[in-house]
C-alpha cells in the first residue's frame, strides 16, 4: 500500500459510492418534501 | 366419495352433482393439458433443429509455423490464439469467459485483457483479475495425418474447474496439457 489514492483508487471509489448514494437519496427525499410543501401552498392560495 | 353417503336421501341430486364435477374435471383438465402441450410445443419450436452457421472444424497450418509465445494472427479470422510453450502447442478460444467479448492480447504485459468488464488472463488462460468466473477455453486439436496441418475443433472445449488462489483462479497446468487439447510438437 504505497499510495492509497493511486490506481485502483480503492478509497476514492468507496467515497464516491457513499457520497453519490447520499446525494441521490437526499435529492429524492428533498424533492418529496419540496413538493409536499409546494402543493399544500397551492391549495391554501386558492 | 362423500356424495355416496347421501345416495338414499337424494340420489338424483348427488348423481347430477357427480356428473357435473366429473364434466368440470374432464373439461378443465383437458383444456389445461392442451394449453400445456401447446406451451411445450412452442418452447420446442423455438429451438431450431437445423443450423446454418460457419463450420467449426478447420485447419490452421503446420505446427512449425508457430513459435514460442502467443500468436494472434488467427484472432480476426478464426477467433483463436495459438500458444506454444517449451513442451508443445495449444489453441485458446478468444472468447472471454465472463460475457463473451473478445479480449485483447498485450504483448508487453503478456496478458489478455477484456474490454467489456476488465477481466485479465495470463497466457495459460488463468484468471488473474476482473470478474471472469472461469479460465479461458482451450480447443480440441489434432494433426491431420495426410498433410500434417493442425485441425481445430472449435466446439470441443476444455473447461476444467478452476481453484481460487491468492493469485487468481488457477488450473494446474500439467493437467491441462493432455490430448486432445495439447500437441507435444
Amino acid at each position: 500500500m504505497d499510495d492509497i489514492w493511486a490506481y485502483p483508487y480503492r478509497l476514492g471509489i468507496g467515497i464516491f459510492f457513499v457520497v453519490g448514494t447520499l446525494v441521490f437519496m437526499g435529492a429524492f427525499i428533498g424533492i418529496a418534501v419540496w413538493l409536499e410543501k409546494a402543493l399544500k401552498e397551492d391549495d391554501t392560495k386558492k | 366419495m362423500a356424495e355416496n353417503k347421501n345416495d338414499n336421501l337424494d340420489d338424483d341430486v348427488s348423481r347430477r352433482r357427480f356428473f357435473t364435477l366429473m364434466g368440470l374435471g374432464v373439461g378443465w383438465g383437458g383444456l389445461l393439458t392442451a394449453l400445456g402441450g401447446v406451451g411445450v410445443g412452442a418452447a420446442r419450436y423455438m429451438l431450431p433443429s437445423v443450423l446454418y452457421e460457419p463450420p467449426t472444424v478447420f485447419k490452421i497450418g503446420t505446427p512449425d509455423e508457430y513459435g514460442i509465445g502467443v500468436d494472434t494472427k488467427l484472432k480476426k479470422e478464426r477467433q483463436i490464439w495459438v500458444v506454444r510453450n517449451e513442451r508443445g502447442l495449444y489453441v485458446m478460444i478468444a472468447i472471454c469467459r465472463h460475457l463473451g467479448c473478445t479480449p485483447n492480447f498485450f504483448q508487453d504485459q503478456a496478458l489478455f485483457r477484456c474490454p467489456c468488464h476488465g477481466s485479465i488472463y495470463d497466457t495459460r488462460g488463468n484468471v488473474l483479475g476482473g470478474p471472469a468466473p472461469r479460465t479461458l477455453w482451450r480447443a480440441g486439436i489434432s494433426l491431420d495425418p495426410v498433410d500434417g496441418q493442425i485441425v481445430v475443433d472449435f466446439n470441443m472445449r476444455q473447461d476444467p474447474d478452476p481453484k481460487g488462489t491468492p493469485e487468481g483462479l488457477m488450473v494446474e497446468e500439467m493437467g491441462r496439457e493432455v490430448e486432445p487439447y495439447f500437441l507435444k510438437v
Binding site: G20, F24 | K76, Q79, C114, T165
Partner: protein
C-alpha cells in the same frame, strides 16, 4: 384493509394522525364544485405538453442524429464497449457479481421486489400526496435502491474507460491503467490464511470439497441474513407487528438482499475479495 388501519391507529405513537386522515378523506368534497371540465382545462394542458415534448425530440434529433458504428465483426470488441445508459447499471453490477447473479437473479429480484411493493405496503398513509414524514421507511428504502441504481449508471457513463478500468475525469483516457494492480482473492482463502485453518476438506460431497474455511463463509453468509431478519424483529416490534409475518419476511428478504449488493461491492473494492461464498455450482 380497515382492520389493518384500525390496528395501526391503535399502535401509532401519534394517535391523531391516522384519525385526522380518515376524517379528512371522509369530508373531502368530490362534488362538482371541486372538479373542472376536461375540455378545455386538461386537454389544452396535454396539448401544450405534447408540443413541448415533440419540439424537444425534434430539436435533439436535428442536433444529434443517431450514430452508426462500424459493421459488426465477431473478432474485435471495441474498447471499451458500453451498453446504452439505462443498462449501464446492470453492466456495472456485472463487474462485481457473476453473470448468473448480476445478469439474471438480481434483475429478477428487482422486478419481483417492485411488483410486491403495493402488496407489502397497503398503509393508507401517504396515498395520493407527496410526503416523507408519514412513510419514512418506504421512502428511504425505495430511495436507497433508486440512488444505488443511478450511481451505478453514472459510474458506467462517466467513470469507465479502456478495459473497463476506472478513470477519473482528470486521468488520460487514452492510457491503459496498470493491469496488475488488483489481485482478487476468495474470502475463504483469506480466512484460511488469516486463521491458519486446515486446507484439507472435512467432507467431500461429489465435486464439493467442504473445508473448514468454506463452512465459515457459509456461516457468515447465512449469518448476514439471520441478523438482518432478527434485529428489526427484536428491536422494532412495532414495525414487525404492523407488517405481519408474511409481509415482514418478504420485505426483509428483499431489503437485506438489496443491502448485500453494496456490501459485496465494498468487500471487492476495499478488500479485493472475489467471492464471499464458493461452491462448485455457484459462486457469490
Amino acid at each position: 384493509m380497515s382492520e389493518n388501519a384500525s390496528e395501526s391507529s391503535k399502535s401509532l405513537p401519534k394517535q391523531g394522525k391516522l384519525a385526522d386522515l380518515i376524517k379528512k378523506t371522509a369530508s373531502e368534497k368530490i362534488g362538482p364544485e371541486n372538479t373542472v371540465l376536461v375540455w378545455p382545462n386538461l386537454v389544452y394542458l396535454e396539448l401544450i405538453a405534447i408540443m413541448v415534448a415533440v419540439a424537444t425530440i425534434l430539436f435533439l434529433s436535428l442536433v444529434s442524429p443517431a450514430p452508426l458504428e462500424e459493421l459488426a465483426s465477431a473478432d474485435t470488441t471495441p474498447n471499451p464497449t458500453k451498453a446504452p445508459w439505462y443498462f449501464l447499471g446492470l453492466q456495472e453490477l456485472l463487474v462485481y457479481f457473476d453473470p448468473w447473479l448480476a445478469g439474471m437473479v438480481l434483475p429478477t429480484f428487482i422486478i419481483i421486489g417492485l411488483v410486491l411493493i403495493p402488496y407489502v405496503d397497503p398503509s393508507p398513509l401517504g396515498k395520493g400526496y407527496y410526503t416523507f414524514k408519514e412513510r419514512k421507511f418506504s421512502m428511504l428504502g425505495f430511495g436507497f435502491g433508486l440512488a444505488l441504481w443511478w450511481v451505478l449508471i453514472l459510474i458506467g457513463v462517466f467513470f469507465r474507460g479502456l478495459d473497463w478500468s476506472w478513470y477519473w475525469p482528470w486521468d488520460d483516457p487514452h492510457v491503459h491503467q496498470p493491469a496488475g494492480a488488483v489481485k482478487l482473492v476468495d474470502l475463504e482463502i483469506l480466512l484460511q490464511d488469516f486463521l491458519g485453518l486446515n486446507e484439507a476438506p472435512l467432507v467431500t460431497l461429489g465435486r464439493y470439497a467442504v473445508t473448514m474455511s468454506n463452512l465459515l463463509t457459509w456461516a457468515m453468509f447465512l449469518g448476514f441474513y439471520a441478523v438482518g431478519f432478527t434485529v428489526p424483529f427484536l428491536f422494532f416490534r412495532e414495525f414487525y407487528r404492523k407488517l405481519g409475518f408474511v409481509r415482514y419476511n418478504l420485505v426483509m428478504f428483499f431489503f437485506i438482499s438489496m443491502m448485500g449488493v453494496p456490501m459485496k461491492i465494498f468487500l471487492r473494492l476495499l478488500a479485493d475479495i472475489k467471492y464471499v461464498l464458493v461452491t462448485p455450482w455457484f459462486k457469490i
